[in-house]
Amino acid sequence: MEEDGWRIKHLIFGFFTGAIASYMLLSSPYISNESAPMLMIFNFLFVSLIFPLNGTLKTKLSMLLIGNVTGLVWNNLFSLFAYTVAYYFGEVFNTLYMILSPIANLVWIVSFWSISLTALANSKNTTGV
């Protein structure tokens, strides 16, 4: 299945798991309309760019799942915070929340993506890129 270090098997498993995770996240009542596209982008970027790299499939799938759980927790906490503040400050904060939400999401996405890259670079399994 592997050719030129481009791990087709890992990519197929990755996209499959990413699709399931995205579906579950989108079905969750804790994920707002603003956060959903960002989480889908996370899954897409993570699978397409991290899965061809060194490391075992188990490690990569675990990282992907941890990333999705982090996204769920992050968004849950963030929306709770938003509801609370909106209660006191009204519509203006709702607008601010909608605009800032993608940036806030990207903070954990970029950090998590960077850490994953470091972890995989130190992997002993070197059949990937």
Binding site: G5, L45, L49, M98, P102, N105, I115, L117, V129
Partner: protein, 427 residues
């Protein structure tokens, strides 16, 4: 009516941002895909093509670093009888000229040209043109005074000229003083994204690798036929890249040909350098965009890449405009699609502006270089981008003002080099 206009404008801007993001995603995938393929290794042993080479080193008040580069030039493995080194002492007020003269006394292939304060052209292009008059070799190479090259860099660069269609060749630039502070570390990340992925991918895909103003080689006859460097443009490297393509030649990028630079060390120096780059790049966009579209010497993919490359410094401005429009739209009547499209703005925020390298491109570059701890700084890219928004906006405003009022004064804010970096120099 105004809302509809804002919506249309926002759609156009997000489409533009998405185009850049997709472009860089393709670049990243391309380099990743090719990473394990065996590439033809250009080494001293297998290179038989060795044309004569003139190396230009423009230097103005570079006493801290000129000795380092000249010493390195004497250590190059390229045959010395085929090499000519021309130092252009551009009206220095320090000991740059004296240090260069010392080397010229000891090595016959080193020549020093002293320019007086009256001859001083205030731009690097002027010094390079002065040096070009003395160049007699087939190939002209350029190195900034703060650079430190690999010993076999000339072999690696000139080997590409075996192909007669190749007009110029760019080597890789790596930051020499990376561990110094947070600014140098972030600039190093930018360089990794820009060269390891961006330039490499453009070369692999047959697009337009860009000349970086230093660590590059060009055919002397081609350069002379183009009239040398354009002294009215601040980004003389980008200008030359497009003039080479418009003349029907190609630029190649050689990742193995590494050269180490001293990166700017503080916020103020960063501002000066990036302001110069963005203003110069915008000048090039005004000068070449139409020519690129009309040219018969460029393929369609080269035209598209060329236009995206030329206009990249406008992107930070367009991104903050789209950010403001999105806020206005939220306050009026937000359309359903706005949430989805809004994601492109923060994604663009995590980019480096010079080549618009998004975070995943920078990260993959550090991974392929085996410098994974540098990845930890990637979340900080957002601050550099926000800083670049201000720089590019100022550069654009100044350029526009000078165009409207006809004041075409070119000011070259020279980067001061301390000579403190040494992370790649082994003795």
């Amino acid at each position: 009516m105004i809302t509809e206009l804002l919506e249309a404008f926002f759609l156009i801007l997000t489409a533009l941002m998405t185009t850049y993001l997709i472009r860089h995603f393709i670049f990243t995938l391309t380099v990743l895909k090719n990473a394990q393929k065996r590439k033809k290794a250009v080494t001293v042993e297998n290179t038989t093509y060795q044309p004569t080479a003139s190396i230009l080193i423009p230097a103005r008040n570079e006493e801290q670093v000129i000795g380092r580069i000249l010493q390195r030039m004497t250590e190059l493995t390229y045959p010395k009888d085929k090499m000519q080194i021309i130092v252009i002492d551009d009206a220095s007020t320090d000991d740059t000229g004296k240090i260069a003269e010392e080397y010229a006394k000891n090595y016959s292939y080193i020549k020093v040209i002293h320019r007086t304060s009256k001859e001083w052209g205030k731009v690097k292009a002027s010094a390079l043109n002065a040096g070009l008059k003395y160049a007699k070799s087939e190939i002209v190479l350029c190195f900034d005074a703060d650079y430190y090259s690999q010993a076999d860099i000339i072999e690696k660069l000139v080997a590409e000229f075996v192909d007669p269609k190749v007009g110029a060749v760019q080597g890789r630039v790596t930051v020499l003083n990376e561990p110094q502070n947070i600014v140098t570390r972030l600039v190093a990340l930018e360089r990794v994204g820009g060269y390891r992925i961006d330039q490499q991918a453009r070369d692999s895909l047959g697009l337009i690798p860009q000349l970086g103003g230093t660590a590059f080689a060009i055919r002397r006859k081609l350069l002379e036929s183009l009239g040398g460097w354009d002294e009215s443009i601040l980004a003389e490297d980008t200008d030359l890249t497009f003039r080479v393509y418009l003349a029907g030649y190609k630029v190649r990028y050689v990742n193995d040909a590494e050269c180490y630079e001293e990166a700017v060390e503080n916020r103020r120096a960063y501002w000066k350098q990036r302001y110069r780059w963005s203003k110069g790049h915008m000048q090039c966009a005004f000068k070449h965009s139409l020519k690129v579209l009309k040219s018969n010497n460029l393929l369609l993919k080269e035209k598209i890449d060329g236009l995206l490359l030329l206009n990249v410094y406008f992107m930070p401005i367009l991104i903050w405009i789209s950010w403001i429009i999105s806020v206005l739209l939220f306050f009026s009547k937000p359309p359903q699609w706005l949430n989805a499209l809004l994601t492109t703005i923060p994604l663009s925020f995590y980019s480096f502006v010079g080549n618009f390298a998004p975070f995943f491109e920078v990260g993959m570059g550090t991974y392929l270089d085996g410098r994974t701890r540098a990845c930890w700084l990637i979340p900080l890219l957002i601050f550099m981008f926000l800083y670049n928004i201000v720089i590019c906006t100022k550069a654009f405003t100044d350029l526009l003002t000078s165009k409207i009022f006809g004041k075409h004064t070119i000011t070259w804010d020279k980067t001061v080099h301390s000579g403190s970096g040494n992370s790649y120099i082994t003795k």
